[in-house]
């Protein structure tokens, strides 16, 4: 299966159930989309991410939060991309929602109210990337010691650590 070029044109992807539902709800929430290697990613505006998840959940398009994580594209700005891997057990389909965050204002609304499973995932991203999740019930470090300085998974943090 040789690689096909990714589809990044929102017009071609608007028939996909997840994107169609989001566009029908709020045109401004969807910033872009990508279909690459059989996986659908939707870029959602930062202020709408919790509501976007809620929309998909309420419309029965997804029912399960598989994973929530982040990648640091330093030195590009906005450097962080938080990825929400949502799964529909009914439709046997996945969709990835993504939010871009600037380095100097890395915060996004928590989705723990929708899926309590997000609790540990968000704490991990907070711990290792330093992204704040607003409205999280217990945003403390989870992997690193409480008094640790810095966020190890940032790309500008050296692999061998600061000594």
């Amino acid at each position: 299966m040789p690689l096909e070029p990714p589809i990044t044109d929102l017009g071609q992807l608007k028939e996909r159930p997840a994107i169609a539902a989001l566009l029908a709800w709020n045109q401004n929430a969807v910033q872009g989309a990508k279909f690459d290697r059989n996986e659908l990613s939707v870029y959602v505006a930062r202020e709408y991410i919790r509501q976007a998840c809620e929309q998909l959940q309420n419309k029965g398009l997804v029912d399960f939060l598989s994973d929530l994580t982040c990648a640091d594209y330093y030195p590009r700005e906005p450097r962080f991309e938080v990825a929400y891997h949502l799964l529909s057990m009914q439709r046997k389909d996945r969709v990835r929602l993504k939010v871009k965050l600037d380095g100097d204002d890395a915060s996004v609304e928590s989705i723990t109210a929708l899926w309590p499973a997000a609790n540990f995932f968000e704490r991990e991203v907070f711990d290792l990337f330093g992204i704040r999740f607003l409205g999280h019930p217990y945003l403390r470090r989870i992997m690193m010691p409480e008094d640790w300085e810095g966020h190890p998974l940032r790309r500008d943090y050296p692999v061998e650590g600061y000594r």
Binding site: R37, F64, S66, A71, Y73, F120, M143, R155, Y157, V159
Partner: protein, 401 residues
């Protein structure tokens, strides 16, 4: 000592609870898990898991390695099923590369992966029964696990940290005598499962300790991100092998054990039934094994055969380049999920077009399943906490990474 006098005296009327530390060195927390229990007498009022004691920064280390050098790191995440981790990682990178793996390699991967599930479940069964107080089951389970470890040693040279799956196929074709050893194991295994079941499934004491303990409803299981047998024991019929097949799983016939009750007993029944189903899949893989190569035809990614390197200049050059500078992977991101013995294991790999991954994230099933533990235990007795931990089958290496 005047300042002490301002401390309010403990009031027996209102201060009914105390905080109890369970772990990180408690034997039945299966590793270095610390549980903060707020208890009222024998009853757990609140529970909070505290993790991170085993954090080794594997995700950070992976960013400094070539793609093929990450494979041995993935072994160390979940040391009870290293091959499952190798499997998930190589599938993710193959998806990034757009690489097709030959059928023989896919089938051998499925077979070894199912044997890995059996060996992981055997450790679970042995330790779970031992936590409850049934000592001898542990010895029986480890007898069969030993057979499996020998099989891994045959195929990879290592008993535990196998690193046998490579990007693009397998390290080598299995050696002579390997398939006979697998066949022998698969033939005796059903009666061995009967043996365990004779010891446990009808055992009055075991049933009393497990039944109606640590309930998890289907809604809670989904909300808390539980997967695998923990989810299926709550009545949700979902298995990635059947519902979103990968690596030729759609060609195998097997049942997905589901139980309704959502208690520790239901999880026990699900896993024991999975032992038998995994044996069925491994048997089908062994009997229908296609012939052909075990490596993809991609000289820039897959290391050449040793023999070829002695006679062909090009093979030697490719070998040198892969070892010294790796291979580049087209930019992009994938999330590849497989059904590990504990649930949905997912690898999120982001490539920026270089020879080293920009980000490798492991969605480990134990990490999410652990979040369901407080829900199961709150309002129950401390003794039930031990049964509940055993029933979700956590591996702390995988939680802390």
């Amino acid at each position: 000592m005047g300042h002490l006098s301002t401390t309010p005296a403990a009031d027996p009327a209102t201060d009914r609870t105390m905080i109890l530390n369970m772990g990180p060195q408690h034997p039945s927390t299966h590793g270095v898990l610390r549980l903060l229990l707020e208890i009222d007498g024998e009853q757990v009022v609140r529970m909070m898991p505290d993790i991170g004691f085993l954090h080794t920064g594997i995700e950070k280390t992976a960013e400094a390695k070539f793609y093929q050098q990450v494979v041995p790191l993935t072994d160390r995440i979940d040391y009870l099923c290293p091959m499952t981790n190798n499997f998930c990682y190589v599938l993710a990178v193959e998806k990034l590369l757009g690489l097709e793996v030959p059928p023989r390699a896919q089938w051998i991967r499925v077979m070894l992966n199912e044997l890995q599930r059996i060996s992981s479940h055997l450790v679970w069964l042995g330790t779970h029964a031992m936590d409850i107080g049934a000592m001898s089951v542990f010895l029986y389970c480890f007898r069969e696990r030993e057979d499996l470890l020998r099989i891994y040693e045959m195929v990879s040279g290592q008993r535990m940290m196998t690193s046998y799956f490579r990007i693009g196929g397998l390290a080598l074709d299995p050696p002579l005598g390997f398939f006979d050893a697998v066949k022998k194991f698969l033939n005796i295994f059903p009666e061995r499962v009967d043996e365990y079941e004779n010891l446990l499934t009808g055992n009055r004491i075991f049933i009393d300790r497990l039944k109606d303990v640590a309930h998890l409803s289907a809604e809670d299981a989904i909300a808390l991100g539980a997967t695998g047998p923990t989810l299926r024991a709550s009545g949700i019929d979902f298995d990635l092998r059947r519902d979103m097949p990968y690596s030729s799983y759609e060609k195998f016939k097997f049942k997905v054990p589901v139980a309704k009750d959502g208690d520790v007993w239901a999880r026990y029944l699900c896993r024991v039934a999975e032992l038998r189903e995994s044996r069925e899949i491994a048997k089908q893989a062994l009997e229908g094994l296609p012939s052909g190569p075990t490596k993809a035809d991609a000289p820039k990614v897959v290391l050449p055969d040793r023999e070829k390197m002695k006679t062909e200049m090009e093979a030697l050059i490719y070998h040198f380049k892969i070892v010294t500078e790796g291979f580049t992977v087209p930019a992009g991101e994938v999330y590849q999920a497989i059904e590990s013995p504990r649930g949905e294991m997912g690898y999120y790999v982001v490539s920026d077009g270089t020879a080293k991954p920009m980000r490798v994230h492991m969605r480990s099933p134990s990490y999410a399943n652990l979040q369901a533990l407080p829900k199961m235990c709150e309002g129950r007795l401390i003794a039930d906490v031990v049964a509940a931990i055993g029933s979700i089958d956590i591996v702390l290496g995988e939680i802390d990474r």
